[in-house]
Amino acid sequence: MPSLVLTVNGVTVDVEPGTTVAVAAMLAGQPCRVSVGGAPRGPLCGMGICFECRMRINGKAHCRTCQIVCEPGMDVRTDD
């Protein structure tokens, strides 16, 4: 099975090519963002409208991870 490795909050995840970053975060067991009230949040709409899956990718904040495909070596972090 072809695979690709990236990290989410430092946790290494191995995914198939074509997998979105939102899915990688779920597989790593990491929340996508922490809400203004401090609660962990994960993807809701899966189609880029709810912004619940936004994360920091390679230092860039507020990326909608359900719309972004994983690339090797990506450094993904929970948005807070």
């Binding site: 090519p17 939102a22 779920m26 809400s35 962990p40 709409c45 899966g46 409208i49 359900c66």
Partner: protein, 414 residues
């Protein structure tokens, strides 16, 4: 896709602007392995043959002048110029708040399906599917085919209204075939009408769901709750362009023309009717924009039949008033700004609540809580203002300093 292909086949230059990273919208989007539904593959081939230029991962956020759209890609800002514009912005799920709906792994029904298409392993996972509308069954069937264990499928509508919907299908043999296929796919799965989620619980992530099942509450352990209450149209861009919107939908004439010259609209924004209706409306809009009026007229009868189906659909899945009582005082209604139900009750209008509580002022711009509060409190949404999607500061700043960024001439579709 149908609009762009038909317009392209008329010989005009067409750009297909899509917010997603691959074409096909929510129904025909490809799986992570690159597989497309057979019908989608046919349209992709037509797009290639008609030399339609795909512009994927491009998100339109403003329409500063007639004939001009501003959009963002992952890294850039671009200006799209058009002679004619066809809006096919689709629909999103309606989400209704209930205690625990903000827990990770509680998501839309289409939302979970999209994530599975994008690589989420679902084999052996226990899933509750809940909410309303035909999408629930389609999602349940898809998840089951991919190995999910369906704990329960809860439809808030009563059997009676769905049976009436069934009668309306009699004039639609293709829909009956689909319905029978779904019935076969879901054999042995517990499908329960007049049922809805009361609460989702778990420590940091979903562990169990309590549902109201025909008047009795029942708790089910599960890994995912896939929950959406039918669909709401994405009309933000149409509204921004000044297109007349009536009863939540974009008004179009027989030729799919909106009230704004040179702007067409097709699919869910003109009325929730499903993929077949969206495709025919797209074909008509594409043909009319390319000047092939007679060919467009030939599709009117097909569209009329599918619109009858849409009307029946609308009647069958009306939301029951009990769903207004689902949120508790502490339940978050606006997920972006964490505004609880109790803080919203006091306000008479959406605008008043926005100004006082920041409800609807977060990144989703009310796309989630707007339809929810419309149902909960009978609030009507405000007018749409740019940017209709959050845009990066550097791009807004670039616009302010130089009103015309890089030029890219594009005709047609969205």
């Amino acid at each position: 896709m149908a609009a762009a292909a038909c317009a392209g086949e008329c010989g005009v230059r067409v750009g297909l602007v899509d917010d997603n990273f691959s074409p096909g919208g929510q129904i025909w989007r490809s799986e992570s392995a690159g597989r497309h539904a057979p019908e989608a593959a046919g349209w992709l081939e037509r797009l290639r043959a008609a030399r339609v230029e795909p512009l994927c991962g491009v998100r339109v956020f403003d329409a500063p002048d007639p004939g001009v759209l501003l959009a963002e890609t992952a890294d850039d800002l671009c200006e799209l110029q058009y002679d004619k514009l066809i809006l096919a912005t689709g629909a999103r799920e309606r989400f209704l708040p209930f205690p625990g709906w903000t827990l990770p792994n509680v998501m839309g029904a289409g939302g979970l399906q999209a994530l599975v298409k994008n690589g989420l392993p679902i084999r052996g996972k226990r899933v509750v599917v809940a909410g309303s509308g035909p999408l629930l069954l389609a999602v349940a069937s898809y998840l089951r085919k991919h190995g999910a264990e369906l704990a329960m499928v809860c439809e808030q509508a009563a059997w009676g209204s769905m049976v009436r919907f069934g009668f309306a299908l009699v004039a639609q043999p293709a829909k009956i075939v689909q319905a029978l296929q779904l019935k076969k796919d879901l054999a042995g799965v517990l499908f329960t009408a007049s049922s809805w989620p009361l609460a989702a619980e778990g420590k940091n992530v979903l562990e169990r769901v309590t549902v109201s099942r025909r008047g009795k509450s029942e708790t089910v352990a599960c890994d995912y709750l896939a929950c959406g209450f039918h669909l709401v149209p994405n009309t933000e861009l149409a509204s921004l362009l000044g297109c007349q919107v009536e009863y939540d939908f974009v008004r179009v004439d027989d030729f799919q023309r909106t009230s704004v010259p040179r702007v067409f609209c097709a699919g869910e924004p003109t009325g929730i009717g499903g993929v077949e209706l969206a495709r025919v409306e797209g074909q008509i809009a594409g043909l009319v924009s390319g000047g092939r009026i007679a060919e467009a007229r030939d599709l009117f009868a097909q569209r009329k039949k599918l619109r009858n189906f849409a009307a029946a659909l609308d009647g069958a899945f009306q939301l029951r008033p009990e769903l207004r009582d689902l949120p508790s005082a502490e339940t978050t209604v606006c997920r972006c700004e964490d505004v609880p139900y109790s803080r919203l009750q006091a306000y008479p209008t959406w605008r008043a609540a926005k100004l006082q509580t920041r409800c609807g002022m977060g990144p989703c711009q009310g796309r989630v809580c707007g339809p929810a509060t419309q149902f909960l409190f009978d609030w009507t949404p405000d007018s749409v203002r740019p940017p209709i999607f959050p845009a990066r500061m550097e791009n807004l700043a670039a616009l302010a300093s130089s009103p015309r960024p890089e030029q890219q001439a594009v005709t047609g579709g969205h």
